[in-house]
Amino acid sequence: MTFSPDKLNKVQEIIARYPEERQKSALLPVLHLAQEEFGGWLSVEAMDYVASLLQLEPIEVYEVATFYSMYNLKPVGKYVFEVCQTGPCMLRGSDDIIAYIQQKLGINVGETTPDGLFTLKVVECLGACGYAPMMQLGKFYREHLTKEKIDAIIEECIQNAAINN
């Protein structure tokens, strides 16, 4: 398990942002890179690799990876729906949206569809309260969600998956 030369350059570039001997500061950004590179989640192998890159003890990486909610420690589907359920989104109907996605995909919160395409997660406030209800899908936010929008997003993901395969 290793990064591509591009990613390795990126790692060096990140480390250079901090004072000498402070390469541990690169841990969060490098874990993001590892998650992108190695299938959307962080295996023990991936974390140990990051530890060796940054000259850390593996436990230092595990401690950090388990603290932050964005690192997936188990495999996830190709498309992860992270639906916000905190107060302001709740006021605008996020509970109904979550229920609809569950019904539509036939999975519960925390589960992945059998075809490995979709994972449904509920998350706490993502800072888009004025555009509620909303969810994160990959790098971007999907806002002002309605049942129709959910249908369209699911369709879009299926299409994309078909093109990429």
Binding site: L31, E63, T86, V123, C125, C129, G130
Partner: protein, 449 residues
């Protein structure tokens, strides 16, 4: 129409990019500031009366003056872009649409504080925004506003963007510093404060995005002029991110001289309650601050008109007032359930507790469980007193303000909406199918059919 200092250029086409920004007066503040001494800049900021826009409202100039300056030790400015307080999404707006405003503020503030390497710590979920910021940084650098020997002053400055990875607690400045060092976001025990020992044990100032952008108009117009805007100790303008059951959710800039009523009902701002419903309650400054029922929101306990500023919103203390906080303005219509909303907040704080200190780690989870019982028809009347007791013993006894932030919403909900909690307990079945609705505390004036 109130004064606009931050969002005045927001609608100009292409303003996200350097050319448009520069053409419209961008970087004039940097040109001006770099001809001043760092001390003179700190003075201007002091004179402006600017208060931290992240939530605590601490005077920025004063905070800057605390930074230690030991010989030979680098200092750092860190921009807190870990915006995570439910109801708050103003910094995102600034970074997404006006990145150069922030970069400008960062250059001036870095110069004032002597920070040659400045970091923007942005919450991990805002995953697309670092690209926008990094592009703006590259543009600024290409134009000579960043890098070595800026404008021939001998001042060097680099700005780097660091992404978090999902942790509300990293908005607390010492947790943010820990996270920037690549560690778990556990808040540090203070003292020492970051101004003495911050990131990598170096003197550090951590400021919110909006605070740092406000430095730009302060330099452009001068601190004294800035201080003339607003009222009392609420000087300048404040961004309010309005959400919940209103017609026009979004980010608004106000000059803190308007009333809460105008803010909610005027078409310039929230445009009234959505779907013709009536106002029930509001959390005016981000989820941590006390919720107020409509009657106490629009008028203070003394019967005065409640204004959108630091002093007026906190008038009456926690008994009958609230706080301006981060400016996250969450509005509830008559059909909303305060118990359920409080439950979501309790769940939020339990989820976001770092787990270091016992009152927060154990207390937040306990409150969530009790609230769940009450919400789902399994509560007891004694649970309400128990909740009160738990929040009381969390508040003030924790390492960082997350404990208070978790305790206050529960306390305020019980203080002002106790009848709704009791109704849930006494009507376990009915409460599952309908909401308590509007009670005596609602705004009688606004009965819209």
């Amino acid at each position: 129409m109130s004064v606009k200092l931050l969002l005045d250029k927001a609608n100009i086409e292409g303003i996200r990019y350097y050319d448009a920004w520069r053409k419209n007066g961008g970087y004039a503040a940097v040109e001006k500031a770099l001809k001043m001494t760092p001390e003179a800049i700190v003075d201007e900021v002091k004179k402006s009366g600017l208060r931290g826009r992240g939530g605590a409202g601490f005077p920025t100039g004063l905070k800057w003056s605390f930074i230690a300056k030991p010989e030979g030790v680098p200092r750092h400015l860190v921009c807190n872009a870990d915006e995570s307080e439910p109801g708050t999404f103003k910094d995102r707006y600034l970074m997404e649409f006006l990145p150069h405003l922030l970069i400008e503020g960062l250059i001036i503030s870095s110069f004032a504080l002597g920070s040659n390497v400045t970091y923007i710590y942005i919450r991990g979920e805002y995953a697309w925004i670092p690209d926008i910021l990094e592009q703006a940084i590259a543009e600024a650098k290409a134009a000579g506003w960043l890098g070595r020997n800026i404008l021939g002053t001998g001042f060097d400055c680099e700005i780097y963007v660091q992404r978090g990875a999902g942790a509300y607690i990293c908005g607390e400045e010492t947790a943010l510093i820990e996270s920037l060092e690549g560690k778990r976001g556990n808040p540090r025990i203070k003292p020492p404060f970051p101004a003495i020992k911050g990131v990598w044990d170096r003197p550090t100032v951590v400021n919110n995005v909006e605070t740092l952008t406000a430095v730009v108009p302060i330099i452009n117009m001068g601190g004294e002029e800035y201080a003339k805007i607003g009222v009392g100790k609420s000087t300048g303008t404040k961004l309010i991110s309005a959400c919940g059951n209103i017609n026009k959710p979004g980010v608004y800039e106000i000059d803190m001289t308007i009333s809460v009523e105008e803010f909610i009902y005027s078409d310039e701002y929230c445009g009234g309650i959505a779907n013709g419903k009536r106002l029930k309650a509001c959390i005016p400054g981000g989820s941590s601050v006390p919720i107020l029922p409509a009657n106490l929101l629009l008028k203070t306990a003394k019967g005065e008109t409640r204004m959108m500023n630091y002093e007026s919103l906190s008038d009456g203390g926690f008994a009958t007032g609230s706080m301006l906080g981060s400016g996250g303005f969450i509005v509830f219509d008559e059909d909303q359930c305060v118990v359920r909303h409080t439950l979501t907040l309790a769940r939020f704080y339990r989820h976001e507790s770092c787990g270091q200190c016992s009152p927060c780690r154990e207390g937040t989870g306990w409150m969530e469980k009790i609230l769940k019982n009450i919400e789902f028809g399994k509560g007891k009347l004694s649970d309400i007193d128990l909740l009160w007791d738990i929040q009381r013993r969390i508040e003030g006894n924790t390492i960082c303000p997350l404990g208070d932030a978790a305790a206050w919403p529960v306390a305020a909900a019980i203080r002002h909406f106790r009848d709704e909690f009791e109704w849930h307990v006494l009507n376990p079945q009915e409460s599952q199918v309908r909401n308590y609705g509007l009670a005596h505390y609602a705004d009688e004036r606004n009965v819209v059919a």
